[in-house]
């Protein structure tokens, strides 16, 4: 008699089990073109599973000029997330890219809470960011705790100037203050922007969590990964996938959990969201005139010098180096120069890297670029050089003299700061001893910053390279 009775109990218990569904996204990086497909998915999902929760594990912004380079940086993405009905987000390192004021404006404009347990405001107006947030669905209490990554310098990967109003703790240390949450909820979710490798460490030191919805490393975790009993998910990036997590809850605890990675790329676009995205892209910002080109620029090298000048001015270095392959227009006519022109001239969005070099390393770096880039002699700012270049691109160039812009010869043993792009720092070999550090700036954005408001520019005859082909 005992076995049938137990079976009946199990059946009854199962009948009373509640199911909670959570959708996890991360690292959307302002890929607004993917949002109409996401809207189609969400519409169907909300019909099939009422009460489903939609969560973002951070880095909602940074990746599109329509979102990042507008006067209210980041705001278009928040407005689109409001429209999509996000329930919560944590902070990614890129949420800090536009500084404290812009982040505060975005947080205030969001119809959903941001959570992050290892950041606090050190100065200026308080950010409305709690460590955690509770939801209730069908009598099930769900707690979501947010965490953002910190690097070796104790800060998230963002420009330190943008972080000076904040104080951060290591997420692995901060999370230990929140073990009490286990007793206050039925489902405990860590919404993190730490990277898959650190989420593994987090699961090892915080087994109280039922799941970690992670981001940062753009990792495609198929079906979820169980570590120390904690379900870890991440859905790559740019809204290519979404993760559906399903929790079965009985008597205040999760009795089963699973994750499914769902591709979004083939779905039709939702017309309403498509219109909203088009409205963002049709903002007059991209056609905004930055300056006026006073005379026709007829040489690609002159355009490269203009790009290098912008890079040097924004990075604050002694010299700047741009490879010719990075210069994507051959000429530019006299007339208005707009934001869109910056992206036509440099569509790559390569990161800017600042490197400390000796004069000897600088000359060697320049000499090796044509063999790595295959587009000829590099363009420079803050200096000029004379070089002999073999006709074969695979052979290194040979600089015979080089001076700073004031005519001072570049000294082999003196130290200079150089700004260049991440592509060159990957393909030139050997590199300077200093591996360099990337800053939150790409070529197009440096031109926007540098040229904005200048009454006029004349690069018609600018050349800083005197080249002999042998």
């Amino acid at each position: 008699m005992k076995l049938p009775f137990l079976s009946l109990l199990a059946a009854l218990s199962s009948a009373f089990a509640a199911q909670v569904t959570v959708l996890g996204l991360n690292d959307m990086h302002a890929n607004i073109d993917a949002l109409p497909r996401l809207a189609t998915f969400l519409r169907a999902e909300r019909e099939a599973r009422p009460g489903v929760l939609l969560m973002s594990a951070g880095d909602n912004r940074t990746g599109s000029p329509y979102v990042d380079n507008v006067p209210e940086s980041g705001m278009p993405m928040i407005e689109l997330m409001n429209k999509l009905g996000f329930d919560i987000s944590t902070l990614g390192n890129h949420e800090f890219d536009a500084g404290a004021d812009q982040l505060r404006d975005c947080v205030n404009a969001a119809n959903f809470p941001f959570v992050c347990a290892n950041v606090r405001t050190a100065s200026g107006p308080e950010l409305k960011i709690a460590p955690y947030h509770f939801f209730e669905r069908d009598g099930v209490r769900i707690c979501v705790l947010g965490l953002v990554q910190t690097g070796h310098n104790g800060l998230p990967d963002a420009h330190p100037d943008q972080l000076k109003n904040f104080r951060f703790r290591s997420p692995l240390a901060a999370v230990r203050d929140y073990t009490f949450l286990r007793e206050q909820c039925d489902v405990l979710i860590l919404l993190t922007h730490m990277g898959f490798e650190d989420d593994i460490l987090l699961a090892k030191c915080f087994p109280q969590a039922d799941a970690i919805i992670g981001g940062h490393t753009h990792t495609r975790v198929e079906g979820g990964h169980i570590e120390n009993g904690v379900l870890i998910t991440q859905a790559e990036n740019k809204v290519k996938y979404i993760t559906r997590l399903t929790f079965e809850v009985e008597e205040g605890r999760v009795v089963s959990k699973q994750a499914e990675l769902i591709p979004l790329g083939e779905l039709p676009a939702d017309e309403e969201m498509l219109a909203a995205v088009d409205a963002v892209k049709n903002m007059p910002y991209m056609q905004r005139q930055l300056t006026t080109v006073s005379k026709d620029i007829t040489r690609r090298e002159s355009l490269g010098c203009m790009m290098a000048d912008a890079l040097r001015a924004c990075a604050g270095t002694d010299v700047a180096v741009v490879n010719m392959g990075n210069v994507r227009l051959e000429e530019f006519p006299a007339g208005p120069f707009t934001v869109a022109d910056c992206y036509r001239l440099d569509p790559f969005c390569n990161q800017t890297v600042i490197v400390k070099v000796t004069g000897r390393e600088l000359i060697s770096f320049l000499n090796l670029i044509p063999a790595g880039d295959h587009h000829g002699a590099p363009c420079v700012s803050g200096m000029r050089y004379h070089a002999v270049k073999p006709a074969a691109e695979s052979q290194p160039m040979r600089i015979t003299s080089a001076t700073l812009e004031d005519g001072t010869p570049i000294q082999p043993d003196a130290t200079y700061t150089m700004a260049t792009n991440s592509y060159l720092m990957s393909v030139v070999s050997p590199l300077p001893a200093d591996p360099g550090r990337a800053i939150d700036l790409d070529g197009a954005r440096s031109m926007i910053q540098h040229l904005d408001g200048k009454p006029g520019i004349d690069y018609s005859n600018v050349s800083r390279v005197d080249l002999t082909i042998e």
Binding site: G151, H152, H218, T219, Q234, Q351, V353, Y423, S426, S429
Partner: protein
């Protein structure tokens, strides 16, 4: 920073992404740039713009 591509140490600028490290690895080892997916140490696919951190290990082919 020091990272590993196919268990080979690669020195790359801080702030680099996975494809920067792979390009550096291919330049250093004189191997052609791979065209397929990139993977982490657990066999998960990672995007080409996956941020790198000190000591991270990535692979250009799935480990058997």
């Amino acid at each position: 920073m020091l990272v590993y591509v196919n268990d080979t140490p690669v020195t790359i600028f801080s702030g680099a992404v996975a494809m920067d490290a792979v390009r550096r690895y291919c330049t250093d080892t004189h191997t052609p740039l791979p065209t397929g997916e990139l993977y982490d140490a657990w066999g998960n696919v990672i995007a080409a713009d996956s941020p790198m951190s000190e000591q991270r290990r990535i692979y250009t082919a799935l480990l058997s």
